[in-house]
């Protein structure tokens, strides 16, 4: 799956989880950029991403994602 395609799908997940259609994520997006993305919402997001792409993150990855770019790197590794 190409990076662009991953981003399209990922953006849908973000809009859905945070109930905000104006969200546009990129490599540098972090929790600070999205108002409702706090430590508790983080797991809801992770689970929604897992479902969308049919993959599983391990807890080490969940705890250590520094930005959306790192999440996308992991998704690409898993799906391809």
């Amino acid at each position: 799956m190409a990076r662009e395609e991953v981003y399209n799908k990922l953006n849908e997940v973000f809009c859905d989880v945070f109930d905000d259609d104006s969200i546009k994520v990129n490599d540098d997006t972090t929790a600070n950029d999205i108002e409702d993305w706090d430590s508790l919402e983080h797991i809801n997001l992770i689970v929604a991403v897992e479902k969308k792409f049919g993959i599983k993150f391990n807890m080490g990855e969940v705890n250590n994602f520094k930005n959306v770019g790192e999440m996308v790197d992991t998704i690409i590794k898993r799906v391809n």
Binding site: D19, L40, I43, N44, V47, N58, M59, G60, E61, V62
Partner: protein, 511 residues
């Protein structure tokens, strides 16, 4: 030996001198030896062997888990076994009596002649801290986010790193392992900063916390006579006492580490500026909060049963509320664990556990209600007075829970609050009643002035965006020396010492 004894500082002095004498490559060995000496001295041989045994257990299981890289099920079993062993030991030393008593009170209703046995035992120093550090390491090895340490002595130096054995912080392998085991070059500025932070820690502990403790003890030990507002003031003072005691201890630990050039994770970040209780806990005992989040809250939330609860509650209550329900259940589990971690007693489980969780969940669940109340009353929440209200409210909410921490028991805690509400005595603010609670007028003034000094110093980083030590280092020579000499003199003159000029024990040193 503990962090409040002279012996500890003699050990630190020798260790620091030796650390910079030996070549960089071998400096971790000095840390290991100092930690080893500390563990034996603080515990005696038997408990020291148990401490080493737990560390060795984690070290060996980590090697096994790494070997099972491709065997998913076996790897999971090994990880559960390794963590289970540490939890069982921690449980045996810290919680066993509490749960045996619960078990026996249940058994009393069922059978007459069978009771479980409990053992009055002293636990190894720092077991609540280093156990969590080791569990964190095993989980990270399992998740393959760290490289396994093969050198057992190096691993030991990290796991029993002696300053952190006394009151934390709880360490994460990726953040602190290299800090502790890579030899550091002598850095004059860092060394001075270390000394300064140690003195600041002593100021908080000996000048402020010890005076507050006299005040707090007078009310807590006689809350029938000292009722009404005395109790409210003593509880608020205890919050400050615990902060100056615990954060003072952490300052000393961080300062000692800086003498070796080692940076540890911060445990406090201006908690009294927090506007909500959940923000308060992100700023108070930070390393415990992060540990709970990464190793309990997240794995629980991500587990199958919680996913199922999530889908069920979304169907039942709609998307917005539904997705919060599993989070709230997991939060309550985490808060229960925080309470239990403080000790096997109902007062901890309620006061610093379930109560805190309930307030945090309720403030989230009732947010729409609060919003409409604000709207009806026409409250502007973008102004200073609203933020001040939030800060005071958070302090009060935290204080209510923490008052149980200090009380003799859970029921004594509730009795105290009943006595508080039972008598209205606002005149104690206007006569000299508050000045006679075990403290002389002289001590009372010193206490007020030093709290004021602490508050002013706390404002420096907020106003300048620099740490206090950096800000002071930029001032002129005369002013710098005036500050540091005044600090040392105030500790020597105004510090309240225990027997034999040892500092009194730190509250969080018991865990």
């Amino acid at each position: 030996m503990s962090i409040s004894d002279w012996g500890f500082y003699i050990l630190v002095t020798f260790a620091v001198i030796l650390y910079y004498i030996v070549p960089i490559k071998f400096r971790w060995i000095v840390i290991f030896i100092a930690s080893f000496v500390f563990v034996i001295n603080a515990n005696g041989y038997k408990l020291a062997i148990i401490t080493m045994g737990i560390v060795l257990w984690a070290y060996l299981w980590a090697l096994v888990i790494r070997k099972m890289h491709n065997k998913r099920v076996m790897k999971k079993i090994a990880c559960c076994g390794a963590v289970g062993g540490i939890v069982a030991t921690l449980f045996f030393f810290k919680e066993q009596i509490f749960f045996v008593n619960i078990g026996n009170s249940i058994l009393a209703h069922v059978v007459d002649d069978f009771r479980l046995k409990s053992y009055e035992i002293i636990s190894p120093l720092g077991i609540s801290y280093f156990s969590l550090t080791l569990i964190s390491y095993i989980c990270e090895v399992y998740w393959e986010t760290v490289t396994v340490e093969k050198n057992p002595l190096k691993f030991m130096a990290y796991s029993i790193y002696f300053p952190a054995m006394t009151s934390g912080p709880i360490l994460k392998y990726n953040d602190s392992y290299k800090e502790i085991t890579n030899g550091k070059k002598f850095d004059y500025v860092k060394f001075c900063y270390g000394l300064q932070r140690i003195f600041w820690g002593f100021f908080k502990k000996l000048v402020i916390s010890e005076r507050l403790s006299i005040y707090v003890s007078a009310v807590y030990s006689n809350y029938i006579e000292y009722n009404g507002l005395y109790i409210l003031i003593a509880s608020m003072a205890f919050t400050l006492q615990l902060y100056t005691d615990f954060s003072g201890c952490i300052d000393i630990i961080m300062g000692i580490s800086e003498l070796f050039g080692i940076n540890l994770p911060e445990n406090f970040d201006k908690p009294f500026l927090a506007k909500t209780l959940s923000e308060f806990w992100r700023r108070w005992h930070i390393t415990l909060g992060v540990w709970l989040k990464e190793y309990i809250l997240y794995p629980v939330l991500k587990s199958e049963p919680f996913q199922w609860i999530g889908s069920w509650s979304k169907d039942k209550f709609g998307k917005k509320t539904g997705k919060k329900i599993p989070v709230w259940i997991a939060l309550m589990i985490s808060w229960f664990m925080i309470g239990l971690w403080h000790g096997g007693a109902y007062k901890y489980i309620f006061g610093v556990g379930i109560y805190m969780g309930m307030i945090i969940i309720m403030s989230e669940a009732l947010e729409p209600v609060f919003k409409s109340i604000k709207k009806i009353l026409g409250i502007n929440d973008q102004v200073f007075s609203w933020r001040l209200f939030q800060i005071i409210r958070t302090y009060c909410l935290f204080t209510f829970g923490l008052s149980f921490f200090r009380a003799e028991s859970l029921s004594a805690g509730f009795d105290m609050w009943k006595n508080m509400l039972g008598n209205i005595n606002p005149w104690i603010f206007f006569d000299s009643s508050l000045e006679t609670l075990g403290l002389s007028v002289h001590d009372f003034r010193i206490l007020n002035i030093s709290i004021f000094v602490m508050a002013v110093i706390g404002l420096i980083p907020i106003k300048t965006g620099k740490s206090v030590r950096v800000w002071i280092s930029e001032q002129n020579l005369f002013f710098r020396w005036f500050v540091w000499i005044s600090l040392i003199i105030s500790i020597l003159v105004f510090g309240l010492y225990g027997t034999g000029y040892d500092a009194s024990k730190f509250i969080y040193g018991n865990f």
